[in-house]
Symmetry: C2
Subunit: 200 residues, 2 copies
């Protein structure tokens, strides 16, 4: 029996990690999406345990106190966190858990759970990154500038990661991540009983 | 500029490493085969610098003294060795060098050059391994028994390797090794200047 692992897909705002993770899960049915816990109210169509675990402030703060998150953050007035138990249970069952997260979150994960596999997703160029951030059309000029500045600063944390993938052509980026998954599955250290596979 | 690496493809007698390496080099023109030095005479059709570097005993022993081999062994009356300079020059130029070698040799490489990437090739079963060793039809019953015993003992060294690949279906095994190559190329540690790729 081999153990699974946590695959952290991360990168600055505008690198395309959301789309990459969605496609990755669509193409690889054996991957498990890491479901976050949040204190914000469910939006229309969001399902408990699928999109999020919806919990109240009291419960969230108790879980923080009891060290039950791999990482968490407060965004505006709401908490978001990655419950440790969900991830570790899946890994014990041999599953590969995908965690889509920003750079600050990934650095927290690295401290709490360094055994995870960390992929830094890069935009093809900083100009393209600016286009992508601007292209959303949902943010003010000031917000865009802040996002761009942050993205720029976050690049230097790439050396904390195991792998980097440039998200220029999405299919190429997906295939590269899928190769990383195949390679990680073939690591000797994940299998205590390889020899037993071939000896009767 | 990114550095290449040495990919060691190894495993017990009968695991199919010769065929795998030949196909791997055929399918991936950017891979470089590690050419061994030997003191044995060239066979018909063998080319200097392609199949082997053919050198005399004196030269070989000098190279051993001067620590110019990553590994070497004496088989019957002939020496075989992997010249360090050839491999390191290729890696500096950004190339991926394939070294096909038995388990004892791979363990020597691991000591001399632990930065290499080590793949242990496994037969689908020990019965199949015995079939493959027997099937060559070139060896006595005694030789076959010795090879099989050695193969069995060598399995326990799998934990010195980074990856394992089961050579059941050759195409599947090749694709798995190709995924490992893609993943290793995407490792952050191999690139000192990733960020420069995307910043003008």
């Amino acid at each position: 029996m081999s153990k699974g692992f946590l695959l952290v897909i991360s990168g600055p705002s505008g690198c395309g990690k959301g789309t990459i993770c969605k496609e990755l899960l669509k193409r690889n049915k054996e991957l498990v999406f890491s479901v976050s816990a949040t204190t914000r109210k469910p939006r229309k169509g969001e399902k408990e345990g699928v999109n999020y675990f919806f919990i109240d402030n009291k419960k969230f703060e108790d879980m923080v106190k009891n060290n039950q998150f791999i990482e968490y953050a407060k965004v505006h007035t709401n908490y978001y966190g990655t419950p440790k138990k969900f991830v570790l249970d899946q890994i014990d069952e041999g599953n590969i858990v995908i965690l889509e997260i920003d750079v600050q979150g990934a650095l927290q994960v690295k401290k709490a759970y360094p055994e995870a596999v960390f992929i830094f997703l890069l935009p093809p160029s900083m100009d393209e990154l600016k286009n992508r951030i601007t292209g959303r059309g949902t943010e003010s000029k000031e917000d865009i500038d802040i996002r761009y500045e942050n993205a720029f600063k976050e690049l230097k944390f790439i050396h904390e990661y195991d792998y980097f993938v440039i998200n220029d052509d999405i299919i190429k980026a997906l295939e590269e991540i899928e190769s990383i998954i195949i390679a990680e599955k073939a690591k000797v250290k994940r299998h205590k009983t390889i020899i037993e596979k071939i000896i009767p």
